[in-house]
Symmetry: none
Subunit: 411 residues, 2 copies
């Protein structure tokens, strides 16, 4: 069983809008044990669209398309689908009545343009849409089941749940995904330690992804049942943890910030942040976790030297002798933050995010970080690659991970 | 001239990751007058990938692919491309030396796995990568120019600018995109004021997008030259500005934070932030703009009541009488921040981001914000919809926009 997903729209092909419908539908299919073979993004043009439907129906057993069902002149999905089926379009009276009623209920006047939305290819049938005007379309082509859904994400999701899922053939099992986050090794190092697990065939697939130094190990299992797939994943996760130890950040679907907060909460301890180059980004990461106030008190953003002195008590002499981006200043920021904000732990980051401000001695990407805790202060120095945002994100991850390791190791 | 974009990765096909590289590349091609015909998303499997390269090279004059150039066993782009070209892979010594040097510079040990990244199909040549380990690959297939780039967005962007753009043929004209950001009106209100401009045919297209209360007006112009397309856009932008006044946030490609910093810089004034529910997100937005230190001094994240008192001098009695999420506390936070951090302007936000913590009186989504400046303090109250991140983003935007309007109006 193999699915193909089509996203339709000029705004998608030209890159003005990022398509998230296709990823959503792929996940939904996976939950039903149906693997997706490929996606395609097609323009609002009748010829290429019709050819795209034809190709997708030859490549897949199931085709899910989104977009191009609106009322305006650039919405050509239904015409293109009729072309691919080799038939005409006919007004579906039930769909027309539904559209008229919807306008009525919203106190708006239905325009002639909306009538086109009730047209259905003769060899297809409409799929009802209770949350918008455009009905979907169901057809069979070259033996494939083909569903055309609206592009508006909320309508697409409703129609998948209410008009598509029940008509999907059973995929012969369940596909589960699991992500194990790691920090501290490069992608190739992680890969070499789990090389034998990264086989590409069979019901279990293991792959890696990298983002700002966080390396994710993706595990996908196809099983006959949820428990069978789940067991396969559990076995691999345990194996990966054995091999990688505390390079593994946390549990499934836990962000690095969530792990740090959980470890702090287990100890009943509070954290504060002292940020320079990250400008509040570490606080924002921590507080993106619901319930973070249990373990995160707050922090300071000391972008200027004056605020490093007045808010954190970093001595003027230290700034003069070493510069704001230095290990002594990072340590003083963390210790000043811990003391002045009255918390158990404080993390501090100072660096040069770029694009300007670098020198031979202190290049763009240089970041000094420190963690102050009950048993003293530790510091790290890194030179990160990447652009301004990349350096900032890596700086945040590296100091949160340093704190995580101290919380794990100083148990 | 017609381009096809390929995004490669199991995590994309299965929907675990949303692909934004393809949209980026389509926009970049459009700027050069090269229209994109379609995108496809393909799995990390050698057969389908090789077939995908073959198909794309038959469909397009230019093929841009991203992903699958990493060092691990699931990265099969170079092998699949060699299959499509009907050749083998050979080690490129210059690329290998570059990878070794990069590891050396970062103080890490190169593994054997990374050697695969220097392998190039015999009928192709490498594209240098100064910001990561994976070189890109350039080849010609069925008369099409084919570029394979890394999937890591920052590396992909660097390589497009430095190793792809200069080799692209000139398109038959120029497609320019322009985004006018607005804040303060809903999407349908904005749409109704520019309804006559939102026509779908002809060389000029106008549409709207919405994200966390920021409504963007997208303008696309196709012209014979950059100046012809630019003139068309300028005319529409002037018209839109006339109709919408200071609902329009700033210039093209300026974020709300960048506009605020520019207005402050023009006055020689400094800003600080006092954040509760946004947890540092406003500071992170401001400092994401290069050169923000000219106008942004820093701030405090006062997530607990204790820190609101100790760092900002918010009176205990005020917190007891009104609660942390209240107008008096927002005002006291902004005024305390302005005074204690010694700046001209301070913004403050306190709210309930959810999902927990709401009540009948103070529901999830309630945000009080304040702006303290040379001429006094103003405050706003909002109840935002959306999830935790949505509420936080809207809270940040609303207070930055309130500051923007004061900077514009108190000229």
């Amino acid at each position: 069983m193999n699915a193909v997903i089509l996203a339709i729209g000029d705004e998608l092909v030209s890159g003005q809008t990022v398509d998230s419908n296709s990823a959503y539908l792929a996940r939904k299919l996976g939950e039903r044990g149906i693997a997706c073979g490929a996606h395609a993004t097609l323009p609002d043009r009748r010829g290429p669209l019709s050819a795209g439907f034809d190709r997708a129906a030859r490549d897949g057993d199931i085709v899910l398309a989104t977009g191009g069902l609106g009322p305006t002149a650039d919405d050509l999905t239904r015409q293109a689908l009729a072309d691919a089926l080799g038939c005409g379009l006919t007004m579906d009276e039930a769909s027309l009545a539904h559209i008229a009623e919807l306008f009525d209920r919203r106190g708006r006047t239905m325009t002639d343009a909306n009538r086109i939305q009730a047209m259905v290819p003769d060899l297809a049938r409409p799929i009802r849409n209770e949350v918008g005007t455009a009905p979907g379309i169901y057809a069979e082509l070259h033996g494939a089941k083909l569903f055309a859904l609206p592009g508006v994400p909320s309508e697409m999701r409703w129609m998948f749940d209410h008009g598509v899922a029940c008509h999907l053939p059973a995929g012969g099992g369940v596909i589960l995904h699991h992500l194990v986050l790691t920090y501290g090794l490069g992608e190739s190092d992680v890969g070499s330690r789990i090389a034998d697990l990264m086989k590409r065939d069979g019901p279990l697939k293991v792959g890696t992804t990298a983002a700002a130094g966080l390396i994710g190990i993706r595990i996908t299992a196809e099983g006959e049942s949820e428990s069978a797939a789940g067991d396969m994943i559990e076995t691999v996760v345990a194996d990966v943890r054995n091999r990688l130890g505390d390079v593994v950040v946390g549990r499934a679907d836990e962000t690095l910030a969530a792990v740090v907060l959980r470890l702090l909460r287990q100890r009943g301890q509070m954290l504060a942040t002292a940020e320079s180059c990250t400008g509040g980004g570490i606080g924002a990461m921590l507080t993106s976790v619901a319930g973070s106030s249990d373990a995160y008190a707050g922090g300071v953003v000391t972008y200027t030297n004056e605020l490093k002195q007045s808010l954190l008590g970093v001595p003027d002499a230290l700034l003069a002798a070493h510069g704001a981006v230095s290990e002594p200043v990072a340590r003083a920021m963390a210790e000043g933050c811990r003391e002045r904000l009255g918390v158990d732990w404080a993390v501090a980051v100072t660096g040069i995010a770029g694009p300007g401000g670098g020198s031979a001695d202190k290049p763009v990407g240089l970041v000094h970080s420190a963690v102050a805790g009950p048993d003293g202060t530790t510091a790290d120095r890194h030179v990160f690659g990447g652009d301004r945002q990349g350096v900032r994100t890596r700086a945040a991850y590296t100091v949160l991970n340093a704190l995580r390791l101290r919380l794990v190791r100083e148990a």
